[in-house]
C-alpha cells in the first residue's frame, strides 16, 4: 500500500503576519506539502509563504475563499494528492487538531471531515449563533449525521471528495462551506464532524461585514430551500 499523499491547503487574503507561523506549524506536525492560495493579496503574503517553504499559487485578483479552495483542490487532483486538509491562514486552526481530521479520513470510512469550532470555547454573538444553529439543523437533516458547525473552514478531504470537488465546487461566500456539504450528500460522500480546539486569530482582519453576511445568508437560504430541485453543478472535464 502506498503512503497517502497529503496536501495542506491554506487559502489566504492579506495574511502576511500570521501565515508564516501557520506554515511552520503545519510542516512540523504533518508529513505534507503545504500549498498557499494567495487570493489576490495586496501585502507580502506570497513572499512570506515562499520563504517558509510553501508552494504558492497566486490568483490574479480576489475571487473569494470558495474559488481559492477550488483552485487548491484542482492543484491537488492534477498533482496526484489524494488527501487534502484545508486550514485558515490566520492561525485559528491548530495543526495538531488537523491530525485528528486526517486520522478520520485515512481510516477510510469517511470522505469529508469537518472540524467543529464548538470543541473549544468558541464564542459568537446571539444573532450569529441563531444563524449557525439554523444552518447546523439543515445540514444535519440532509446529511443524516450530526453537524454543529456547518460554516467551519477547517476540513479534511479524502480521495473521493478531492475528485468530486476538484471538478465542481461552489465559490460564493458561505456556499463554499454549507452548500458543499449538501453537494457531498448528493454525491453519496460520507461526512463526519469532529470537535476541534481553536486559537484566536493571530493577525489580519476578519473578512465578514454585517450587510454582506446578511445578503449571503439570504442567498444561502434560497440555495438551501431549492437545492433538491436544482440541476447539478456542471463539472469540468477531469484534468487527469
Amino acid at each position: 500500500m502506498t503512503v497517502p499523499r497529503l496536501l495542506v491547503l491554506i487559502p489566504c487574503l492579506n495574511e502576511e503576519e500570521a501565515v508564516g507561523a501557520v506554515i511552520q506549524r503545519a510542516t512540523a506536525v504533518l508529513d505534507a506539502t503545504v500549498l498557499v492560495i494567495d487570493d489576490g493579496s495586496t501585502d507580502g503574503t506570497a513572499r512570506v509563504a515562499r520563504e517558509n517553504g510553501a508552494e504558492v499559487v497566486r490568483l490574479p485578483f480576489n475571487l473569494g475563499v470558495g474559488a481559492a479552495i477550488r483552485t487548491g483542490l484542482r492543484y491537488a487532483w492534477q498533482n496526484g494528492y489524494d488527501h487534502v486538509i484545508q486550514i485558515d491562514g490566520d492561525g485559528q486552526h491548530d495543526a495538531d487538531e488537523a491530525r485528528k481530521l486526517l486520522a478520520a479520513v485515512t481510516a477510510g470510512d469517511v470522505d469529508l471531515v469537518v472540524g467543529s469550532r464548538f470543541g473549544s470555547s468558541y464564542r459568537v454573538g446571539r444573532l450569529r449563533r441563531l444563524c449557525m444553529r439554523y444552518l447546523a439543523r439543515v445540514t444535519t437533516k440532509r446529511l443524516r449525521t450530526p453537524i454543529t458547525d456547518a460554516t467551519s473552514g477547517f476540513r479534511a478531504f479524502g480521495p473521493r471528495a478531492v475528485a468530486l470537488f476538484s471538478r465542481s465546487y461552489p465559490s460564493d461566500y458561505l456556499s463554499d462551506t454549507v452548500e458543499a456539504l449538501l453537494l457531498a450528500a448528493d454525491a453519496g460522500l460520507r461526512v463526519v464532524e469532529v470537535p476541534t480546539l481553536m486559537h484566536p486569530r493571530q493577525g489580519g482582519v476578519p473578512s465578514a461585514n454585517a450587510w454582506r453576511s446578511a445578503f449571503h445568508l439570504a442567498r444561502l437560504m434560497l440555495v438551501i430551500s431549492l437545492h433538491r430541485f436544482r440541476r447539478p453543478l456542471t463539472p469540468r472535464s477531469p484534468d487527469r
Binding site: 490574479p60 485578483f61 460564493d172 456556499s175 434560497l222 440555495v223 430541485f229 436544482r230 440541476r231
Partner: protein, 117 residues
Amino acid sequence: MKNRLDAFSIIVAVANVAVMVELFRRRKVRERFALLWIVVGLGGVILAVARPLLDDLSHELGIVNGTSFLFLLALLFLMFVCVALSLQVSRLAERTEILAEEIALMRAPTDEANASR
C-alpha cells in the same frame, strides 16, 4: 372590469417569479441576481394582491394617483439595477484586462522559443 385587471397583474407578477425560479433552478443565472429578481417579483405579487396598499401608500406621500407612484418605484428600481450592472461590467472589464496581461506574460517564453527555432 377591475377584477379582470387584478387577475392580470397577479398572473404577470407570479409568472415573473416563476421564470426567475426556473432560471435559478437551471443554474442559468448567478444566485445573487436570482435573489434580487425573486425579491422584486414577490414585491410585485404583494402589490398586485393588495392593491389598496399601493393607493394608501401613495396617498400618504401626497401622490394623487397610485399608478404614478408605481411607475416612480419601477423607474427608481430600474435605475438602481442599471447602476449595479454598470458596476459589474466595469469590474469584469478590468478583470479581463488583467487576465489578458497575465496570459501574455505567461506566453512570452514560448513565443520567444518558437521564434528562435
